[in-house]
């Protein structure tokens, strides 16, 4: 199949993810959307790997998955810590690190 279709799907998923990161207030949903963006990137990588016929893109996709896993761990840990301290689980409310 034409690689363009795969890239379109990837772009669509990426945009949905980006929109979610920008508009949702719950950190959990933000992390979810972040995952979406990462996986969209993965999809693009694998599509190109298939196009070029070598495994570079697939290897890189696995690396991305590792990084995503680490980042989700940290993010979820942060959310648990917030809950423990009875802080509002709302991205807009947490803005003490301002200039």
């Amino acid at each position: 199949m034409d690689i363009g279709w795969y890239l379109a799907v990837s772009a669509l998923i990426f945009t949905i993810g980006a929109a979610g990161v920008l508009t949702r207030r719950s950190p959990l949903v933000v992390l979810l959307c972040l995952e979406l963006m990462l996986n969209a990137g993965n999809l693009a990588l694998i599509a190109f790997a298939r196009m070029h016929g070598n495994a570079d893109g697939q290897i890189f996709a696995i690396v991305v998955m590792v990084v995503a896993a680490c980042e989700v761990t940290v993010g979820l840990g942060l959310i648990v810590a917030m809950h423990r301290r009875k802080l509002p689980i709302d991205v807009d409310e947490l803005r003490e690190l301002q200039g």
């Binding site: 980006a18 920008l22 933000v30 807009d92 301002q98 200039g99």
Partner: protein, 670 residues
Amino acid sequence: MSSVELFAWLTLLLPLAGTIVVALAGRRLSGRGAGYVATGAMTLSFASAVGALLALQGLHHEERQVRAVAWDYASTVGIDAQISLLVDPLSVFMILVVAGVSTLIHLYSIAYLDSDRGYVRFFAFLNFFVFSMLLLVLAGNFLLLIVGWAFVGAASYMLISFWYRRTTATNAGIKAFVINVIGDVGLVLGTFFIVRHTGSLDFLETFEGIKSDFSPNDADLVAGCVLLLVGAFAKSAQVPLHTWLPDAMEGPTPVSALIHAATMVTAGVYLIARMHPLFELAPTAADVGAVIGCLTLLIAGTIAIAVTDLKRVIAYSTMSQIGYMIMAVSAGAYAAGLFHLMTHAFFKALLFMAAGSVIAAMAGQQNLDRMGGFKRSLPFTYGCMVIGGLALAGIPPFSGFFSKDEILLLIGDRGGWYWILYVAGYVGAFLTGIYTFRMIFRAFWGDSVPEALELEEGHMHHPDVHSNPANGEIEDTEVGFPGPEHHIAEREPAMKIAMGTLALLAIVGGLLQIPKVTHVIDHFLEPTFAESALYERDPSDGLISFGLILGTIVGLAGIAIAYVVWVRKPGMAARVRARLRPLHGLFANKWYFDELIGVLVVRPAQWFGSFAQQTFERVFVNGVLVGGATGLVRVGSSAVRAAQTGFLRYYAAMLVVGMVGLTMYFLLLS
């Protein structure tokens, strides 16, 4: 090193050694020990000066200008200053006068200041002063002269403020010092104008090349000489830089005798005499000097008639006599001016010493209104005062007669508009007679005041409470204020010897230069003034006799007037004062010079200072500049800070926008 050089260095350095020894060991020397050490150093210094004289006279006439060099002081980028002395008849003359009179004053001070808690400090400073004065007159180049000039000013400040817990003394000290610094600046700038053409700071080299470097009355030379005159006027208390001298009487009387009568104030006269090649080539500047000298002798004479503080009368008389000397050396009568410098040193120091004795009898009080009748209780002091007074008033055969007369003779001999100065000189002599004997009659004749009565009964007056005679503030007798005891000449052999020697010199000193008979000083100083066009003079016999007779008459007339006003008709003084109230006010208020300087100089400076403090610093510097700089930084940082909102979503959005923008940029570019 030749013997002349050796003696010159010894003369210069012995007082410095005295200062150091007295300063370091002073505490360990009991009683008057410090005084003896210091006077011993001075005696040795005087002996070396005599040695230098003999050694110099042993040289050939043409060779009597010896340079003694120690090391390079500042020889760089075109200036060539070394630590170098110039030993010639002029400097040897000066060191003899300075060292000689200083030794006698040291002797006097051993007794006079005994019991003052600052005794050791006094002698250390006094020796240092003599060192500075000797440095000034022995200096062989402009830079070293200026150094000596400033040291003398510093020593003068330290001695005027000797009783440093008195505000009157410290104020007088800083006033004297600041005016002296103005003189220093004048000397420095004058040196610049001259060295710009001559290329050398050394005296002998400057004088040798003077005619080729400058044309007569060259603008730079006149400017330079006038600036040198500013220095001379500040140091010699000539109008308008004279206001420090009367205030300087705050210092102990030996200080007034040494510094403000015999030595420091004569530095200006020495300067003009030393720089005579320059002044002869710039007659405009010399004329300025003569005119100021003349004005000063008249103004000071009028003030001396009106003031009532004993030491201030003598101080103004000094100012007036120095006016004569300045007038003389500016007009080319170098030997006459220097001769008067010498005789004046003798009789003025004598007068101050006698005044010190009277003031001691008055337990520190200096006001003539409170004195009277000391003739009986202070006979020796009275005798010295009369001798000094007669010499000052110019009565033959005392020394002052011959020296003052010679000055006026040679001024008259110049002719032209100098006749005005000639007449003024005799008017001044008339005033001199009046104020000198006014002082003597008021202090010594008439009814005895309580202090004199006490003394006649054999004991000195001791006040219950010590106070500052100038403003009545209560004092104690610890260091920084005068000591508890006072000493009069009649009871102190040291004082008697010093005063007696000076009295003798005041009587016979005139023998050195009697017109047409002896010319000791003329011949002695000849090598220094060999190139001078004005040195060799031959006034007419008629003028000589006329001058001698006129001088005698004028002096006696002054004494007679003083006798009539203050002895014969006691109420007359008050009546004359009442009749001529504005004139008396002008004289008694010192011609309002202090007030004038206050308005012209002091107030604007203070205004500038407070303007700077109050307004400029706060409004402009802090408000505009510092506030501006910090304000700018603050505004800038708050602008940047606006981007740190703390909103996560905002950051994310910025990320996205930035990335999209970058991508679009590169897409469009390709």
